[in-house]
Subunit: 200 residues, 2 copies
Amino acid sequence: MSTVRNPDQTRSRLLEAAYEEIYQNGFQGMRIDEVLARTGLKKGAFYHHFASKQELGYAVLDDVIEKFMTGRWLEAMQQADDPIAAVESKLDMMIAEVDPNEPIRGCPLNNLAQEMAPLDAGFQQRIDSVFQFWIGTVADALARGQAKGIIAARVKPQVAATFIVGAIEGCVGLAKASQNPATFLDCRSQLTDYMQTLRS
Amino acid sequence: MSTVRNPDQTRSRLLEAAYEEIYQNGFQGMRIDEVLARTGLKKGAFYHHFASKQELGYAVLDDVIEKFMTGRWLEAMQQADDPIAAVESKLDMMIAEVDPNEPIRGCPLNNLAQEMAPLDAGFQQRIDSVFQFWIGTVADALARGQAKGIIAARVKPQVAATFIVGAIEGCVGLAKASQNPATFLDCRSQLTDYMQTLRS
DNA sequence: ACTAGTACAGACCAACTAGTCTGTCTATAC
DNA sequence: GTATAGACAGACTAGTTGGTCTGTACTAGT
């Protein structure tokens, strides 16, 4: 049996399976054997593409999570006429994506942050850079809103954006703790109130 | 050598060591051997007091973390003249407790929540009950503030309290991700702004 | 004082898990 | 076409980890 080889795709499959396993069990809880079982690949393939479990974790952050967050927030914020409406729209999307049949697993980025940031500098730097990028997209949108006069001049875009991102993660985290989507809705309603105070 | 025995204290030492290990490495990352090394005890002692690692985790939540949160928030909120000022005071205490020489490890309760809530129903229920208690203390204080006329009547205490707790955890979580206390200060300043909007 | 249950010590085990190594098949360069 | 490097398979290992089990010393009730 002649096997067709496609190393790039093999690597992607490993990354995708690892992302799922990490999302479900955390990085430390993720087992390489389970990633291999998901993909049907063997140890030989894995360690050909990744030097270690740690390197796999870094690659998931670099190649899956960062790209996901970039795709999700960058252009949505960049081409937003109203930054607050754009954030609200993203929150609506997050709600729509919740699968009521599955446990609430929260935000993949924040999950890794809370687990790994104090334990591993490589994780921490990558995570921080994604958060800073995310906050930066919101801050830039707020600053453009100020230029357009729809956001109050007193608002500090970076500070407000930090809080918006922090509050989103907080609301998601509480919903995860309670395993109740209604918690997110309650929490989010107040984030909405806060954001309205940023308008001029 | 005649060893003095004190089973209650032995159990407490195990719980305290386990709490520290969980706080540093997470529940899954916590190793029983390391708990024993911290205490100088052996397997025999451990499995006499706890049926399993899972039961230890439950006990840490029930006997350490819940008690800690109760002691920290209950009476402070109960005897608060001004609920917002009381929360601010607690935030000041949290800042004061940060040790600049150690990595920012965040909130022990939220750490466990983000790691274990979707994985283990026993953890999830215990964590949720502590969060609900915490939120309840804040909500009750807000309601009393409304009765006194210092909190606006339009405020829904439970919803506002949920957001306050969520935002606190979000701010702490971001500071943990960035390993930068300044992130918490920025984030918190906006939580302060939000809370001011609750006044009448 | 005796006994029975309690509170441990510490050796041991079975399962798991990250990582290694050798071999083989495939693709690519020439 | 052939050599060389890349892309895997899969058996194997060494270390770890939660948990068990037996034995023993302590303690409380009678």
